[in-house]
Structure formats: C-alpha cells, structure tokens
C-alpha cells in the first residue's frame, strides 16, 4: 500500500514527553512542533494554533513553569522538560480559580484564544502573585484576542490574583490566631 511505502521514507524519532505529570512516548518526525505533537499525537486539543509564527499566543503552554509559544518549539526540544497545558487546570469537572474568574468576568467569547491566555496568566501569576493590574495588562498584551477587547481578560486575571492574595492573607491571619 502506498501509505506504508510513504511512511517508511519518513525519518522518525522516539520522544518522551512529560505532559501534565504524565509520561508520553511518541514516535514522530523531528520537524514536528510541540503544539502539533500535543494536539495531534497526544490528542490534547485544548491548546490551539492561531498563527504558527509566535505572535498570537493561542498555543501558549508552560514549559518548566514558563509560558512558551508551542508553535515555535519543536517537540524534540521539550524532552526532559515539564510541560503543562490547559487540560491541567481543572480537576475532573471542577474548574480552577483562574478558569472560574474568566467565566465570572466574561473573559472569553469564542474561547479559541482562551487556553493561551489561561496558561500565560497561570505562569505569570505563579512568578508574580503580587502583580498589579497594569502589570497584568502588560502581560495580556503578549497574546491576541479578537472577541473581548481584552478588558475582561485583564479583569479576570486581576480578580483571580486579588482573590488568591486575599485567601493567602486570611490563611496567615488564622495561623497567627
């Protein structure tokens, strides 16, 4: 069959990827990008592709806790790193606080850019939990959204950061008592 012949001509490589705490073995061409392997080999289709040249940020995932454009990285380059995708944010059917904040603030409409913004915010808030709203707007400007006008995305992330700080302060208070 033609397909088998064609496949045999491909240069294939075995990759081991750590995605959302799970080890995945993938046999694929070395030229495949991280986002294509996540989406089409591992079938983690929550991460989206919007431009394939690193501008729109729809494909943002965390690689060793830092936001990365998964369209600009070969899957092979992510071996040995911890990769996190949008699928890691909820536990079963229960949404995480960042996801809930996006819903409460209407920070998404079509939802296509949303996984990218979520992972961008997840990485950023972990690094700078004390971020101001202006700093959040600065970071949000890294990605493109065509539906919301950004205001509610900024408000959602700021709302989540504020709530986390409040929860943290309450915890400290109760420990002191």
């Amino acid at each position: 069959m033609t397909e088998e012949t064609a496949v045999s001509e491909r240069e294939l490589q075995l990759l081991v990827l750590d995605v959302n705490g799970e080890q995945h073995e993938v046999i694929t061409e070395p030229r495949r990008t991280l986002v294509d392997v996540l989406r089409h080999e591992l079938r983690l289709t929550g991460t989206h592709v919007g431009c394939e040249h690193g501008i729109c940020g729809a494909c943002t995932v965390l690689v060793d806790d830092r936001p990365v454009r998964a369209c600009l990285m070969f899957a092979a380059q992510a071996e040995g790193a911890r990769i996190r995708t949008v699928e890691s944010l909820s536990r079963g059917d229960e949404l995480g606080d960042l996801q809930r904040a996006f819903s409460e603030h209407h920070g998404l409409q079509c939802g296509f850019c949303t996984p990218g913004f979520l992972m961008l915010a997840e990485g950023f808030l972990a690094e700078r939990p004390e971020a101001t709203k202006d700093e959040i707007r600065e970071v949000v400007a890294a990605n493109l959204c065509r539906c919301t006008g950004y205001q509610t995305i900024v408000e959602a992330i700021d709302g989540c950061a504020t709530a986390r700080r409040q929860a943290c302060a309450n915890l400290c208070d109760s420990k002191e008592k």
Partner: protein, 772 residues
C-alpha cells in the same frame, strides 16, 4: 412563587466550562480514522491565464496521496446572483478551483492531499504552474481607467454593481443654494475580519447514511450545504454540514468558501476523510477581506445646522470575486440603502458601485459598510459644526430622529429608539483635559432584524430572513432546542436557553441548544447581521410557547379543565384554582410518550413543537452614541485613547454581560480599523501584509477599557423585545475615534479623513503645527 425570570440577567455562560478546560471541539480537533490532510496550490500571480499545471512531481513527494486540478474534479461553479438588470449587476462565476485564469495572488488552483499536513506542504513545493501573465488591476483608479485590463471579461469597466438610488426631486438646487455645503472624501483601508481560528473543514463520506458529512467552521451551514450539493451534483439530502465550536467568524465565515467545497470533493473522490486547516498566511492573503471603500459625499445644511440634503458616491473595491450568497453588492447596497441613518435627512441621492480588482475577494465583515458610512456622515456633521460655529453635539441634537416611527428619505421606517437620549447621556459621561486632547462622537443606529422583506428589497436571489426552531421535551423533562442560527462566540447556548427556560418554566440546566447541524433542522440562515436573537430567538420563543401549550393541554385533559386554567412554573403544571393539583413535566412526558393511551384523541403523542419567525416590515434598529477622548503623542504620533464611553440601546438585553462583551469586542475591532489594520498590496498585486508582523492586530496595550451604559427601548417586532447587539460596537468606533483625532488636530488646520490613521500621518500633522 415562581422563579425570577432569567431574561435580563447575566446568567453564567453554558459554553464556558468546556471552553475553559480545553474540551471544546473545534474543526481542527476532529480526527477521523484514516484521515488525510489537504493544502492548496495557489496562484503566485495576481492576474494571468493558466498555461499549465503539472502535478506529476507533487504526486511523487513522500506522503502525498493525491493531487487534483479543476479538470480532475469537474465541480460546479459558485455563482452569487442578484435579481437586477445587467446594467446594475453583472454575475460572475467563482470556480471552486481556478480553471483558465487566475485573478489574485493566493487563488486556489489545485488541492494536494497527503498523509499529514507537513507532507501536504511538501507537496505544494513540487507543483509546476506556468502562467501567461496579464497586467494586474490593483486600485480603483486602474480598474475604472478607460481601456483597463478586465478582471472578468463580462464585466465592462471592471464594474460588478452600479446602482443609483433615491435622487430626491430638487436635490441639485438644494446643494446649489444651501448656506452651508460640506464635502468629505474618505478612503478606508482593506481589512481582514480575522477570526483567531482560521477557516477549515473535515469531510468524509458516510456509507451507512449515504451522506457526505462536512464539518466546517461556517456561520451559514445550510447555505454551505446547498452550494456543496449543487457543486458536487448530489441531492441536498446527501450532504450534512456540521459547524463545530468556532473560533470567531465576524462575517468572514458567512460566505461559502471554495476550499470547503474542494475538500468535500477530494473526500468523495478518495473515499477517505480529508481535513484542511487554513494557515495564517493564507488567511491573511487568500480568504475573504472587506472594507476597502471610497466615499465622495456632500451634505447641505441650513444656517442653524439642520441637514438639507446628502449626495453620495460610493465605490467599493470587492477584489476578484462576488461572494456567495451576498454577491459583490453586499457593501455598496448596504451603504446606499442605509446612509442617512439616525438623522432627519430630507433629500438624498446615492450612487453605489462595486468594482472588481486582482485582490482577494470581499465578504461581509461585522457591520458591513456601516462603520464606513457612519464615519463619513459623522465627519460631515463635525465639519458643518466647524463651519457654522456650532458645538458638535448640538448640531447632532438638532438633527437626530426623535419622533418614531420615522420613515426616512431612503424609504426605511425606523422603529422607536433612544437616539437623543443616548447622545445626551454620552455627552455627560465624556470628560477630558490635557494637551493635544480631542473629543469625538458618533451617533448611529443599526438595523438588526433583517427579515425576508428587507433582503428581498436588495434583490438577493438567496433571501435570508426567516428562521426555524424546534423545541422538544423528553421523558426526563429535559428540553432540546434546535435553531438554524450558529453561534461562534455570541453565547447563544446561554441566551437561547434563558428564553426557553422562562417561557416553559424550567430550570436552565434542563435546556440544551443544538445548532450548526443541517440534519437537525430543515433549514436556517445562520448567524450574521445581528439576526440571531432578533429572528432566531423569536422563533425559539414561539416554539417553546407552542410546547408549553401542549403541556397545558395534556394536564388540562387529566383534570378535565380548560388549558387556560393551567399554569407552568418550576417544571410543574398546576391548576390555577387549586395549586395542590399538580403534574411534574416528567409526569406529563410520561403520559405523552410512554402511556399515550391516556391522551385524549385530539392530542398527538410526543412533546415537540416547531415555529418559524420572520420580519415582514423594515425590521428593528438598535442605536448608540460613542464618545472618545484621545491624546496625540507629539514624539511618536501615537493616538492614545484615554476614555471610551458607549451608551447603547439594544432593546431588551437578554443577558447584559453578553451584550457588554459584544460592545467591547466590537469597539476593539472598530478601533483596529480606525488606527491599525490594513491589508496592503504592491503594484503587482502581491499582498504585503501576510503575517502578524505586518498586519497589526491591536493588543491590550492599544485597546482601552470601555464604559458602557445601557438604555432600553424594547422592540415591538421581536418576540423578546430584543434588538440585535452583535455589530454596533464596530459600527460606532471608527467615526468617534476619527472625530476625536481631528478634534485634537484642530490647531494644526489638518483634517484626516482616511483610515487607518497611522502614527506617521498624525506625526506629520503635529509637526506641521510646530513649524507653522
């Protein structure tokens, strides 16, 4: 006591949990066993005859399974029609794959199908296509020049549409004798609607159903089905179109794409699933574009600033093809019909033209012409205010329609709105201080309930207008609603469910909307022109009401009372005179389905109802006033928006948070058109903005927070009192921003009327002030 009504409340979106968890199902998320991947060999020249297409090397590329030209597939053309004489409209065929001639860079002329998308791309590189090049026509001037090369041989002077309308008696005298006549000439940049998800489709043949199943991201599934069936020469029954979750559309996905038909043809031929996902470069250069228009407009005013007449010439550069179903008339006919807008214009004359050039074709884009003509009209009012020494808000106050219904010079009857109230309120909310500060306003209304009558007036041969809904209840009391509209970000799963939950008195969690699947509903016209809640939502409410009647009838028969004596609340049918007699919906459904022998003879088993809705008059108009404060930066020419106020009236807001989302997102796209985005070509017709480095989509840096205030003038013509809310933001923003920029430039004497207003233009204008 019954539950509080859900309509009018910001109910949490039903769409959110799956979209936030990465569990949406977009077209590229679909994977079928044995699926192949397609890409298109596209023209590298803007205008030429195809001398040869040699795909033999393509077929040798590892992983490539097949490659087809137009001759291989023998597909029917896509031809959009208007019922107008040839002097007003020239129909032109759009072949699915280019045959003899190519008309723009990026035009598809062959499809390559491969094992994966990477191999398909490899295949493209091996294609050998030769052309006999023809001189390209890339501008309006070149297109209309005597002896210009013809893009379509049948369209003389490269003109596809040419209509002259209204021409009120005496308009020339009015313009000759009025105390104040102002003139505006405006050119607006070509734009891309730019849904963040590019176009794409997955097609496969289903042997058991004897159906071609086409998953495609479209706003108009039924129209795609009609065209696919005709082009592939199948019975329409044998095509099922399914629109999955969609990453925006904004009009670009509201036309039938050639690629989606070609993908279907390849899947039929190969009897294997075939997927095509458009890459961003193709999306920027070879999809459907919009908004390249040229206005020359004069307006006459009396000494008190009352408008006396409007005389307009509109030329829209529609690129290489007429889009289906709207035709190349979409932009000029919209502008011509609606231009007088919110103002009492006593005399009006317009010539509207669509020209064809060697650029990617034009389709609808959010607002369709209204962002442009509103900008022109609002510039005219600002200019008249300056000439007459009037306050720019005051001159509008003297001219906006205040007595409704109002039948305009354009033969359109405007239903009640809050034109004056929104203007006054917006003025109060806009405050500003600083250097190079400018304030700008725009006042506009937006027809949102385009029924069959309104589109028939345009003489479209496919007349979108009505929509159908079916509402059914199962034995668990859960409700399934189908609609012919197709949400692609507008939250219909939530808002339509709110309408049904209120009408039937059921928990919203029990209501589920199904949309975008042609097998689930007879026909529909999809989502565009802010029609979904006005028309689709009305059909949904009527169908739910019919189902409610049936629930009441079954309960009434059990109690041997009149159905009017039964009320429906909280999932229970109760007797009005004796609340202790009650039947839950599950109990009624049990009778309707499982114990039908208990039904009286005149009631059929089952619980479902269908309804159709259409608007038979001029429809309903949303309205708004936008107010903007800008600051111009001397060093960079940057336009910074300091404050943005939107006072809007879309009648009953089904879900205020969703309406605000539509306003904000629309305003962002309007600002994008006013200040940033432009599709550019070189003089050979080569597109020069084919990445996000060159096509500047604004980010959170450029788009300001927007203060929104709601007014509410319910529509008498829709079943919910709602007017549409999808496009207003985009319509109002360019005018208000441009007026604010010009207000800030007042001291320079420079006036800017073209968009996008770039930093270079502003810098030059400010520098002129410094040197003078």
């Amino acid at each position: 006591m019954s539950r509080q009504k859900l309509v009018g409340r910001s109910v949490a979106r039903r769409e959110d949990p799956r979209l936030l968890s990465g569990r949406g199902r977009f077209v590229d998320d679909i994977a079928l066993p044995g699926m192949l991947h397609a890409q298109f060999i596209r023209s590298t020249v803007a205008h030429g005859e195809i001398a040869s297409v040699d795909l033999s090397a393509v077929r040798q590329v590892p992983g490539v399974m097949a490659a087809f030209t137009a001759e291989d597939l023998e597909l029917g053309d896509i031809t959009a029609q208007l019922g107008r004489p040839l002097s007003e409209f020239v129909p032109t065929a759009m072949p699915v794959l280019a045959r003899d001639k190519v008309r723009f860079v990026g035009e598809p002329l062959a499809i390559v199908v491969a094992r994966d998308a990477y191999a398909a791309e490899d295949g493209l590189e091996a294609a050998r296509v030769t052309y006999t090049t023809l001189p390209p026509v890339t501008t309006e001037e070149a297109a209309l020049a005597p002896g210009a090369p013809l893009v379509h041989a049948e369209a003389a002077r490269n003109t596809l549409v040419d209509v002259s309308l209204f021409a009120t008696d005496g308009i020339d005298e009015i313009l000759a004798s009025a105390p104040c006549v102002v003139h505006v000439e405006t050119r607006t940049g070509r734009q891309n609607a730019l849904p963040l998800e590019t176009r794409g489709a997955v097609a496969h043949w289903d042997d058991r159903e004897e159906q071609l199943v086409l998953h495609t991201c479209t706003q108009i599934p039924h129209q795609v089905r009609t065209v696919a069936a005709r082009s592939l020469r199948l019975d329409e029954r044998a095509v099922r179109v399914v629109a999955p979750d969609m990453g925006g559309g904004f009009g670009q996905k509201c036309v039938v794409g050639r690629e989606e038909i070609a993908v279907a043809a390849a899947a039929l031929r190969l009897r294997r699933p075939v997927k095509w996902i458009e890459d961003r470069k193709d999306a920027l250069s070879a999809s459907f574009l919009a908004r390249e228009q040229h206005y020359r407009v004069r307006a006459a005013f009396d000494a008190d600033g009352r408008i006396l007449g409007l005389d307009a010439d509109v030329v829209c550069d529609m690129g290489a093809y007429s889009c289906y179903p709207f035709t190349a008339g979409i932009e000029p006919l919209m502008a011509s019909a609606e231009m007088p807008g919110v103002y009492k214009v006593p005399a009006y004359r317009v010539r509207g033209r669509a020209i064809t050039t060697n650029k990617a074709p034009t389709g609808p884009y959010r607002g369709v012409s209204r962002p442009q003509y509103v900008m022109v009209v609002e510039r005219l009012f600002e200019r008249a205010a300056r000439e007459l020494g009037l306050d720019p808000v005051e001159i509008r106050r003297r001219n906006v329609i205040t007595d409704f219904p109002y039948t305009g010079v354009n033969n359109i009857t405007y239903d009640p709105g809050s034109y004056l109230e929104s203007l006054n309120l917006c003025e109060q909310l806009v405050t500003a201080e600083g250097r190079h500060i400018g304030i700008g306003y725009s006042c506009f209304s937006e027809r949102t309930g385009y029924g069959s009558a309104a589109f028939a007036q345009r003489k479209m041969q496919v007349v979108p207008g009505f929509d159908i809904s079916e509402v059914r209840m199962d034995t668990s009391g859960a409700v399934t609603v189908t609609t012919g509209t197709m949400s692609h970000g507008q939250s219909h799963e939530t808002t339509m469910a709110q309408i049904v939950a209120d009408e039937l008195g059921v928990d919203i969690a029990k209501v589920r909307l199904h949309q975008g699947d042609t097998d689930r509903i007879t026909y529909g016209f999809g989502t565009f022109a802010s029609r979904s809640i006005t028309i689709g939502g009305s059909a949904v409410r009527l169908a739910a009401a019919k189902l409610g009647d049936k629930l009441r009838a079954i309960a009434a028969a059990r109690w041997d009372i009149d159905p009017d004596e039964v009320e429906l609340t909280d999932g229970v049918a109760r007797r009005r005179d004796d609340a202790s007699d009650a039947l839950t919906y599950e109990e009624i459904a049990d009778i309707a389905y499982l114990q039908a022998h208990l039904l009286p003879k005149d009631i059929e088993p089952g619980l479902s109802a269908a309804a159709t809705f259409d608007v038979f008059n001029d429809g309903t108009f949303s309205n708004a006033t936008h107010g903007v404060v800008v600051e111009l930066h001397e060093g960079t020419g940057q336009v910074e928006i300091l404050r943005y106020v939107c006072v809007e009236d879309c009648g009953v807001a089904i879900n205020p948070q969703v309406v605000e989302g539509q306003c904000r997102g629309g305003i962002a796209q309007g600002i994008a058109g006013a200040l940033f985005e432009q599709v550019t070509y070189d003089d050979q017709g080569e597109p020069s903005a084919t990445s996000f480095m060159d096509y500047k989509v604004p980010t959170a840096h450029e788009i300001p927070d927007v203060l929104i205030h709601h007014l509410q003038t319910p529509s008498a013509f829709t079943e919910t009192g709602a007017k549409g809310a999808g496009e207003g933001g985009t319509i109002g923003a360019p005018a208000a921003v441009l007026n604010a920029v010009n207000d800030a430039l007042r001291a320079t004497g420079v006036e800017l009327d073209n968009t996008p207003v770039t930093p270079e233009t502003v810098h030059r204008a400010l520098h002129l002030e410094a040197t003078s």
